[in-house]
Amino acid sequence: MIEFEPVIGLEVHAQLLTNSKAFCSCSAEYGALPNTQTCPVCLGHPGALPVLNENLLNFIIKMGIATNCKIREISTFARKNYFYPDLPKGYQITQYEDPICYDGFIEIELSETERKRIGIIRIHMEEDAGKSIHDLDIDTLVDLNRSGVPLIEIVSEPDIRSAQEAYKYLTSIKQILLYLGICTGNMEEGALRCDANISVRPIGNSKFGTKTEVKNLNSFRNVEKAIEYEIQRQIEVIRNGGNIHQETRLWDAASQTTRPMRSKEFAHDYRYFPEPDLVKVKVSNERLDSIRSSIPELPLARKQRLIDQYGIPHYDASIFVEDHNLADYYEHCCSYLAVKSQKTFKLVSNWLMTEVMRILSERKIDINELGLNPKFVAEIVDYLSEDKISSRIAKDIFPEVLQNNMSPAKIIEERSLVQISDSSALETLIDEVLANNQDSIEKYKSGRKNVFGFFVGQVMEKMKGKANPKLVTEILRKKLDD
C-alpha cells in the first residue's frame, strides 16, 4: 500500500491588543455592549476616512522581527471587496501585493533535541469585520464593535507535515504573540483564529496534491483534530480511487468532521485594488531600530538559556517558558537565593512545579494573580537546601506563607522549626527510642528490614518533624547495623 504524507500550511489571524481600532480612535476592547464602540469610520458612514493606527504598525513590525521576517520599507494597503452585512464599507482594508513583513520563519521543537524550521510567507495588517448574530428568532443582528479591530494575518509556508506539527506551530505563534504582548492568544474569544490548507501526497513525491482549506478551527485541540481528520479523509478518498477537489471545508466540532462549504460562501472575486484613502506605509530605520531593541527574549531562546544558565532539565524549562510570567517568576525566585547553585535552582524549579503550580491550577489563576513574593520561595529553598528544615515542614508552613503573606524565615525562626542536626542530641533520643523497642530490634536483626522505617517514624514524631531525616537515618543505621 502506498504511504501518504500530509502537506500543511496555516493562516493565522491574530487580533492585536492596541487600545484603539486599526483606522479610527474607537476602543478595540473586547466584550462591550453591542455597537457602543463605533464611529463614522468603523460604521462606514458616507465621507468618513480611515487613518492608520501607529501602534498597529509597531505591533506588526514586532511580530515580523520576532519571526525573522524582512520588513518592507514601503508597503501599501488594498481593498478587498465583498458584500456582507457585518462588513460596513463593503470592503475590508488589508494588504495584498506588498505585505509589510515577508520571508521569515520560526522554529518548533519536535523533541528535546530536534528542531524544525517552518517558513513564514508573509504577515500583513488588516481590519476585522463586525459580528453577525444569526441565532436569534427575530432576525440577523450585527454588532460592529469588532468592525475595524486590528488584525494581523500570518501565513506559513506549506512546511508542516503532521497535525502535531501544526499544533506545535500554532502554540509557538501564540507564545511569541504573548511574549511580545500584542495579542491575548485567546482562541475562544476569537483573538486568535486559524485556517489550514491541507493536501496529501505519496511519500517521496515532490509535487503537491490538491489542497483543501479548512476553516472554523476555534480551539487549539480542534486544530489538531480537524487536520488529522482531514488528512485521513483525503487519504481515504485517494485510496478509494477518488480525487480531492480544491474547496473550502468547515470543521464541525459537534460531529468531529469537516464538510464542504456551500459554493456561494466562498465564490468571490475580491477585486483587490490599492486603497486610495491611505498613504503608503513607510518604515524608517529609526522606527525599526527602536522596535528591534524593544523585543524581549523569545520562548525558544529563553528555554535554552534557562537550561544553560540554571542547569534545569528541558522539561522544567519548557513548562516555565509556556507562560512568560512563570518564567519571569522562576528567575526572580532564583535571584533571591542566598546560595545560587544548580542544586538550589533545581529546588526552586521543583517547588514551583509542584506546590505553586498545583495551587495555580486549583484556583485557575496565573502566577501574577497568586501574589506570592518570590523572595519567600527563595527563603524556603534556602532552608531546604541547607537541610535546615525538612520538606514536610516546608509544605506545612506554605499555606500560611501564602495566606498571610508572611516570610517563611520568620515563621521558621519564631516557631523554632529549624530541624535538629545536632548529632549528639539526636543520638540520645535515638538510644531512648531503641531502648523502648527491643522487640523491633529483634525483628530487624532477623532480617525484617522494613522495621527501619518504624524507627525513623518514632524519632521524627518525638522531634515533631524537626529532626534532620538524613542524619536520623545515618545514626540509626550505624546503631542497628553495627
Binding site: 463614522p40 460604521l43 462606514g44 458612514h45 458616507p46 465621507g47 468618513a48 476616512l49 480611515p50 487613518v51 492608520l52 481593498r79 471587496n81 458584500f83 452585512p85 460596513p88 464599507k89 463593503g90 470592503y91 450585527v142 460592529l144 472575486d269 477585486r271 483587490y272 485594488f273 486610495p276 484613502d277 491611505l278 498613504v279
Partner: protein
Amino acid sequence: MIKYSDFLKKIQNKETTCVDFTKEILDKIWENRHLNIFITVCNEKALAQAAESDKRFLDGNPRKLEGMIVAIKDNISTKGIRTTCASRMLENFEPIYDATAVERLMAEGAIIIGKTNLDEFAMGSSNETSYFGNVLNPINNEYTPGGSSGGSAAAVAAGLCHVALGSDTGGSVRQPAAFCGTLGLKPTYGRISRWGLVAFASSLDQIGILASNADDTARVLDVISGSDAKDSTCANISPSQTFDNLQNLPEKFTFGVISNKLLNNCSEDIVRAYDFYVEKLKSLGGQPKEISFTNPNIWIPTYYILATAEASSNLSRYDGVRYGFRAEGEGDFVTRTRSEGFGMEVKRRIMLGTFVLSSGYYDAYYTKAQKARRLIYNDYNRIFNEVDVLLMPTTPTPPFKIGEKINDPIAMYYSDLFTISANLGAIPAISFPAGSPSNGLPIGLQLQSKHFNEDILLQLSNALLK
C-alpha cells in the same frame, strides 16, 4: 452675483445686518425655487448663525468669514442637516458629523444657507442625474448649469450665496463654473481635507470653491485648507495664504499655450476666447510658450477606468443595512436596495468599475490606467518646469441644453476632456468666466499650475476679472 467685501461695507455702514441680509437671501432662494438649486435650505439654522454674527460684529470681534453666506454641495457632510448626494439612497440621511471644511467655515463665522443640488453622487456633467430633478441654468433656463456641482454654480450665479463649496473629481467644479459664468477653483489634491466629502473617486476627489470673484475664493480657501489628522491623504502643510498674496502677481511670468491640434477639439467660440485671453495674459506680463502633452487621447479612458473602479468600491457601503434607503419586501434586500436606490448613471459607473477590477481584466484596464495616470502626472511635472501657468479651455463647447446629451453617455463624458487631466495630475486649476459670446451664454477658460501654487491662479483670475 454678490461679493463678500460689498456686504462687509454695508455692515460697516450699518446699511444692513447679517440677519436682514440672510432673510433677503432666503427670500431670493424662495423666489428662484423653480431653478431647483437647493435640495435643503437651512432657514432656521442660518438665521441663528446670522444672529450670532451680528453679535460678533457688534462686539467688534468678527471672525474671518463673519456673516458670509455659503452654500454647500449636498455631498459634503453636515451634522444634523440631511446630506443626500442627490440620491434616493440617502434621501433622508442625516450625518452625525461635519466635514472638516464645513467645520472650519462655521468656526470662522460663515453662515450655511443650504445644501445644493448635484448629479447623483457627483456622477454627471449636467446635473440631470439628480434624484431631486435637474437644475436650470440661471442665465438661460433652457440650458443645464453643468455638473456635477451644478447647484453650487447656479447658486453663486443667481446671487443666492457669496460662495459655494463644490467637489471636483473630473471637472465638477470648473465645468459648471464655466457654464454659469462664475469662478471655480479646484485646489491641489491634498490641499483641503476630504473628511466628510462623500467619496466618488477618492484619489481624484477634491473639495472646490465657487464664487463670483477671486477675493472671496481666496478668503474661503485660506480658511478650509491645511492638514487634517482625519484625512491622511491631506497634505501635511499649513493653510494657504492666498488672500494676503492676491495682489502680488509677479511682474513677469510664463504661461503655456496648448497646441492647435488639441485646441481644435473646441467650438469656434471657445477658440476665439482662448486666443483673446492669450493676448490678455501677455498684457499682464505673461510670456507665452507652446507646450505639449504626451497623449491627450488617454485622458478620458484613463479617468473613466480609475474613477469608476474607485466608485464601484466607494459605493459598496450603501446596502441598506445600517442607514439610508432600504427596499421593502421579501428576499435579498441588499440587491433590491441597490437596484432601487441608485439611478442609471450611478449603476452604469458601478458596473464599469466592477468590470475593470474583476480578475482577468484588472491588468488590461486598471493597471494600465494607473500607468497612464503616471504619464499624465509626469507630463505636468515637465510642463510646470517650463512655465508658471497653463491656459486651457474649461469645456470644448459653450453650455448645452437640458436633454441634449443625457442619453449619450460618451458625448457627456467627452465634455470633461479639458478638466480631468488636472485631477489625474493632482494639480490645482481654476475656471474663470471668459465672456458670453453666443446667445449670452457664458464660457470659461482654465488656468492650471504646479502643485500647491493656488496663489498664481487666484492672482491671475483676480487681474483678469478686473
